[in-house]
Assembly symmetry: C2
Homo-oligomer: 340 residues x 2
């Protein structure tokens, strides 16, 4: 009831009074303005400490017109890839002095992305990173509020935004070529969910190599990134005679396939060679340790912030940039020369 009871946190004016200066001088101390006498600064600092004063960034943002907050829109941050990317983004943002406001979408559709961007814009974020690897996210990026910089991660080539991505095609080529080099006649493929751009890139690279080598191109098996879908595809593959090499679109599905083969008594790599994609921390300890293609998600996160900050500095006269992070082939024990 009594207003004295619910005492409000101290504001700049309180500090000023206590230190015997004007609120403006307090502001100068807080913003490291050069023209403040050392003795005055000390007095202000003491008052701040004594009162437990904390600057109200909301009021500051209202006048400076920037919040030092970046928005991140992502999809299922439970998956290792997005989680690592977002982690990289967050670290890079914070070391550049920015906060991160997260929106994780349950499903990626144009409306969802559009809404998320709208919310973030209302919040006044200074820039946005969209980790939206699905094709259907692209249209939403097209009509983003023009006054706020956006970087897409693994996004489409939707003209108007900067993009950071891993060279999926190249990664798939490395995997496929490795298998052909081991003497396999052809390579089967377990793919990811259809709408994903990465999935298309991996199929493209895989197909390229087979075509160039004049090998038969088996129909890719469908998957959804989950170990279970890899397991089911593996079961089907185990029943197909003559399969000796499989390129799987991610490590988790590769794990499922490994399990399926183990159950069917198909020995890896003696009878079938498997290559995954991602190089999750577990892959090295699969049975057998998985040969795979590493994506440097941390680098993707860092680069997305790098491009975003550049774009924020440049302002309007900014030409959109594209950065490609190279994948790296990691040979382990799940592949072997074809046994005659």
């Amino acid at each position: 009831m009594s207003p004295s009871h619910e005492r409000r946190p101290p504001v700049m004016a309180d500090v000023a009074t206590k230190a015997g200066v004007s609120h403006q001088t307090v502001s100068r101390v807080l913003n490291d303005h050069p023209n403040v006498r050392a003795e005055t600064r000390a007095r202000v600092l003491a008052a701040i400490h004594e009162l437990g004063y904390r600057r109200n960034m909301v009021a500051r943002a209202l006048v400076t017109r920037h919040t030092r907050t970046l928005g991140v829109v992502s999809f299922d941050t439970t998956l290792y890839g997005p989680a690592s990317t977002v982690y990289g983004i967050e670290q890079a943002a914070r070391s550049a002095g920015y906060f991160v406001s997260m929106v994780s979408l349950k499903t990626i559709d144009t409306a969802g992305v559009r809404d998320a961007l709208g919310y973030l814009a209302e919040q006044g974020v200074d820039g946005i990173v969209v980790v939206a690897p699905q094709r259907s996210a692209a249209p939403a990026l097209a009509d983003v509020p023009t006054d706020i910089p956006v970087v897409a991660v693994e996004g489409g080539h939707s003209g108007d935004v900067s993009v950071v991505s891993v060279d999926q095609v190249h990664g798939a080529r490395l995997a496929t070529r490795h298998l052909l080099d081991l003497g396999h006649e052809t390579v089967w493929h377990i793919g990811g969910p259809p709408d994903w751009l990465e999935v298309e890139g991996r199929i493209e690279g895989w197909r390229d190599v087979l075509v160039a080598a004049g090998r038969p191109i088996p129909e890719p098996l469908p998957g959804d990134w989950s170990p279970r879908s890899g397991y089911q595809a593996g079961l089907r593959l185990a029943a197909v005679p003559g399969v000796t090499a499989v390129f799987v679109a991610n490590d988790q599905m590769a794990l499922g396939a490994l399990r399926a083969f183990a159950e069917r008594g198909v020995r890896v790599p003696e009878q079938i060679s498997i290559v995954g994609f991602d190089d999750i921390p577990e892959s090295e300890f699969f049975t057998p340790p998985l040969t795979t293609v590493r994506q440097d998600f941390g680098a993707v996160g860092r680069w997305s912030i790098e491009l975003l900050l550049r774009q924020m500095e440049a302002g309007a006269e900014w030409s959109h940039e594209r950065h490609v992070v190279p994948p790296r082939f990691v040979a382990r024990a799940s592949t072997a020369p074809v046994h005659p």
Copy 2:
């Protein structure tokens, strides 16, 4: 140069002018105030649409004194547990109409947590969830700014904050008892990093059951959650004669141990039984599929928001609450009766 060139986004006053009303009426429309004539509302809405107006939430927050943003402090969101928890938090927060501002710490020390809390407080978040499973995080929670509600996930009993956690002790008991029930003389343990509260809980539960059954208590082997550390511990265990059952503090280390045993020619579960903890999506497809204890991270996330919101509503006269999420034992193929 010309100020007309860089046109500012429209503000409430622009909408008001266009609709021929006062800015206050626009505000009323935006806030769903009942007392606005339908015809007026329509005119305002039209003006908003036409101008592409978006409310400035920063200005709004300055006067309402809340931002509709929740802060989340977490540790290494690359790990499955924290990632899933944070995901659950984010979803629950958003469906309650809140944004989430993330801070992921690289290392958890008191200073780091304190800083993170300070930053978030400056940002004006309405509440904070701290996913800080280490003992060293507790002191920082003690001196959190008193005016802002905080919920700790897997945190210590640091008196002053609400806590959501999984019953680690119970989970460990389930795992250990299962192994004893299968006829194993005793159960070895590969533990997590020392500072973690969960680690202590799991050791406690494991030891309890062994003590109650009057079994010998082997020295726990150290680990750091990584598959590699599990692998190394597994290698050491494979060299110890008479080991028939191991309870591993998480699934990733269990994977490493599985790998170590495979390399040493120790068959699982025929010669050694293994139980993990967490039930990550991969566990079901390990070789062999891992018997483990499931933690419902999604529920943890949802509950933490639930408690936080309650606390925010209650305000000062709030007594701190504790919610415990039960773990669930999941039997699979990595355990078997001891072979005589």
